[in-house]
Amino acid sequence: MIAYVAVLLFLIGTFCCFKAGVKFGGIFSWLALISAFFVFILFFSGMQANTEDVFSFVWNSSPGGDMKIDIISNRYNYELVYPFFVITLLSLAGSKFLRLEKIGNIHSAVLIFNLVAIILMLTSNNFIQLLMTLFIIDILAFFIIKNAFVSRQYILMNIVADMMLFMVIAVINSRIKSLDIRQILHYNHIGFHTDFVAICGLTAIFIKFGFFVFHIGLCALKDIKLHNLINILFLFAPLSAMLVLLKFHVVWQNSPYFMPYLNLVCITTMCWSFWRCLSVDTYKAKIIYLQTMFWALLVELIRFSGFVWNAYFTSLIIVSYILTMSLYLFYYYSGRRNNMLQILNTSRYCKKGIISSCFLVLISVVLLSDVLYKIYNNSNRYYIWIFAVFYIISLSAIISQVCKYHDILRPSNFPIKFKWVVFIGFLYILSVPLRQVELTAVPVYAPSFVFLFCCLLPFGFCKKLYQVEWLQNLNGFNTLYTTLIYSAQLLGRFFLLLIDRVFIEKIVIRNSIVMTQSSLRTFRRLSGNAKSVLFILTLLLVLLWLSFKQGSGK
């Protein structure tokens, strides 16, 4: 069934590729959305029926090995494909219904082709199919970004990561002597350069995720259109990195360095992204850091589940996408301004838009808390919970920064019906912790409480909505707000200035660029001189000899 779905999607994508004018382009993308929706119904019915089948054919053959295309339909693959299908549909629908930006049919085609590539990657049983789809996703990202200058760092970093994965897979393939991924477990018995394979593979996926210290490529995208950025963050390189992790963890786990390295980078990324999300002053950069925090959180959660995908992760990723799309609305209603101060100044002129965005965000966060709670019950790791709280605090900080002026959330700005909807929404929020009251699970309620605490911090709204005397007299909230959010922001800005601007940007990056440029310049000059060439070659020879010696020792 998944094979038919992939073929149908490919046909829809090809249909969308036809060059059409502005008018017909719009019609084409509508048709793409509708037909993709029908394909989704087909996919969903297959998922419900739980049909299992294998579609396989030899694409290309040679004495060195056959290249097969395998599409395996089973319950696990259905569950893996499902969230990304939904996200793609949401993205296609968002561009049409919300009229976010002028998006042509080519954009829809790229998204659909990307979904086909994801399906092929997920269901692959062949190393070459996996590698090909990995590269194709990066090429499609190039088409989505459009701006060649902006995409330079991102694409080059991703190609570096792809080449590293290419090398890792080639090493594995060289030992197991088969292109079949299912034979991968044999590699553990053979154990050839396992540490190299694990470290190189993990570094490659960290580059693709945009985790700390490899975040330069992803952060370079802060100048592209926000809806494209959201698509990149959810459907392109980070997603392919996660799928590679799910497929290759079996081999990488064999190395003693795997877990410490993964943990270290994920935890550092979460802390780093948290600070950056609070302190950075552009909206798109905030979204990027929020998302890297989310991916780091998800990787840790997947690790605790034994690298097995389950329905909670599906919900989590879909809710997170809805949440980010809701955050897009702030940007949209403030006239697509990127600077936080400008968003703050313009948001007061579009109060209803901002309020409705707030409402969407609230609902999404509640859903998020719910999913996180369920995952927490399975994993039972407290520090993950702390990072989940970090994530929600960052979200609420963004909302607080946008809606800093209390008058935006003044009840008089609400239509009467909307007040009721908001009221019911808040009741729902309050009901989340109350639904499963267990004294032992007190920390579980933390995100909902923290969220309530942070989001309702513009207390003018609370005071006006709930005419309670003690609430009217209470001024302590402002102090708490200042202590928790404002001082965190100040601290974040301080660290931003000290670590990011002074240390990383001015010292590490600047010096590494200068060193690379000067070494290249020196090399260029030296390569014209015979004596210098001899010196360089001797150096290379020594390096080669050392590596041969090291290699022969293993």
Partner: protein
């Protein structure tokens, strides 16, 4: 039938050369003859490929040249040779598309190109020592002439160096073949040399001379300097493509001579050869990264891939020969297309007196084509080169992890260097004052390149799709 086709394949370029000699100066006749020669030979190769592929064997054709002495000349063709020939013809055809009007009228250049074509066809079809040597030596003259006409005049000392190196390589091959002739009292088939039992000292002398001859053609350190200095100055796409085919002759030499089972005395030298190849690959990758010209990066790219194929021949067994040839087929076409497109853009920039950087901003059609070819060159999976390279690299890893790691590093570095340069050529910050003044690629040329893309794309599904 195959005999006639084989004979025609060898004779048609020579006939084309004679016709071109008789054509009028400063007209397009010579160019048209060249195109006709190329197309007719391509059609013949396709017929041959179909015939050979059905039989799945090597077809040999022998005749006696001199009755008194043992000189049986043998020509032969198999799928690998036919594919290589096809890629050479396509590469030259692509480079001819990029010629300017003045270059198309240059009779002398095109005659040299045809003469080179005859020699390289002969070299690939040759299956015995003498004919192999004759065609190997015969390539020097046309390439030297082409470089002298199209290269930069200030680089004359380099040109002499080029001549000396290549002449030395011819002498080395002569020594090797003379020894073989003396010991076996006659002309031998190339395939028999590696199978024959030889005294150790003689064998070492023969193999060493032959390897030196081929190494001098492939720019392995310390023979790398002349070719890079000359190649960077060439502005004629055909001359550039032909000069870059010289390493291919060395590669073919290795492919024809390299023994299937390594005798002890050859096996001992393999690590040394591998170290030299890796050293050169890394050094040239660094040169490619450091230099600012796209053409130098292209040269580094072609050299690194030539060395990669040599490494595959030396390290891997017969099983991977097909993968190597499939990869080589795509590499030749891609390299020629990139060079031609780049030289076309440079020519336009030179006419408009603009800097080469950011010139692609004003040429959207040419940009799309160049991006496609650079993507293939950088190792992205758009053609069958990707997965053939994967199979080869995996096999190299199987033999030695360190060799594989260095090899992948060199290939990745040069791929990234090409991509980075492409981005610089698309840099909007250095955009031209008036883009409308620049002429983009013409529709005819665009269609020709789209056909090339079509060939590459279909090869992704089946490398021999054109064989019926």
């Amino acid at each position: 039938m195959i005999e006639y086709l084989l004979f025609s394949l060898l004779v048609v370029p020579l006939l084309g050369c004679f016709f071109a000699l008789m054509a009028k100066k400063n007209e397009y006749n010579t160019f048209n003859i060249c195109i006709f020669t190329l197309l007719s030979n391509i059609v013949m190769i396709l017929f041959l490929l179909s015939a050979i592929n059905m039989e799945q064997s090597v077809f040999l054709y022998s005749f006696h040249w001199l009755r008194n002495i043992k000189t049986e000349i043998t020509f032969g063709i198999d799928v690998n040779a036919a594919l290589l020939l096809l890629s050479i013809y396509l590469a030259i055809l692509i480079s001819l598309i990029g010629l300017t009007h003045n270059q198309r009228k240059n009779k002398f250049e095109i005659i040299n190109a045809l003469y080179f074509l005859w020699n390289i066809t002969g070299l690939i079809l040759a299956r015995d020592m003498i004919s192999f040597y004759v065609f190997f030596a015969g390539q020097l003259l046309p390439v030297y002439m082409l470089l002298e006409i199209s290269g930069n005049i200030r680089k004359t000392p380099m040109l002499y160096l080029f001549f000396i190196f290549n002449f030395a390589s011819i002498l080395c091959l002569m020594i090797s073949l003379a020894f073989t002739y003396k010991f076996y009292n006659g002309n031998m088939l190339l395939a028999q040399i590696s199978l024959a039992d030889m005294p150790k000292r003689v064998a070492i002398c023969i193999w060493l001379s032959a390897c030196l001859a081929f190494i001098a053609r492939i720019p392995i350190w310390p023979f790398h300097y002349w070719i890079s200095s000359i190649s960077a100055t060439i502005k004629n796409p055909t001359a550039y493509t032909i000069s870059n085919m010289l390493p291919l002759t060395g590669l073919w030499g290795f492919l024809s001579f390299w023994p299937l089972r390594h005798p002890e005395y050859v096996a001992k030298t393999i690590p040394l050869a591998v170290i030299f190849i890796l050293l050169t690959m890394c050094f040239i990758a660094l040169i490619g990264l450091a230099h600012k010209d796209f053409i130098r990066k292209l040269f580094s790219y072609s050299t690194i891939y030539s060395l990669f194929f040599v490494l595959s021949i030396i390290v891997l067994n017969e099983k991977y020969k097909t993968n190597m040839i499939y990869s080589l087929f795509i590499f030749m076409i891609v390299n020629s297309s990139m060079t031609t497109l780049n030289l076309m853009a440079s020519e336009e920039g030179k006419e408009m007196r603009y800097n080469h950087r950011s010139i692609l901003i004003g040429m959207p059609k040419l940009t799309r084509l160049l991006v496609f070819f650079v993507f293939i060159a950088a190792g992205l999976p758009i053609s069958s080169m990707f997965w053939n390279n994967f199979v080869l690299i995996s096999a190299i890893f199987r033999r030695s992890f360190v060799v594989g790691a260095w090899c992948v590093s060199a290939i990745s570095v040069i791929g990234l260097a090409l991509l980075y340069e492409l981005y610089l050529m698309l840099d909007e910050q250095e955009a031209l004052p008036d883009k409308s003044e620049i002429a983009d690629i013409s529709e005819r040329k665009q269609i020709a390149f789209i056909m090339v893309i079509f060939i590459l794309f279909l090869s992704f599904f089946d490398p021999l799709w054109f064989v019926f």
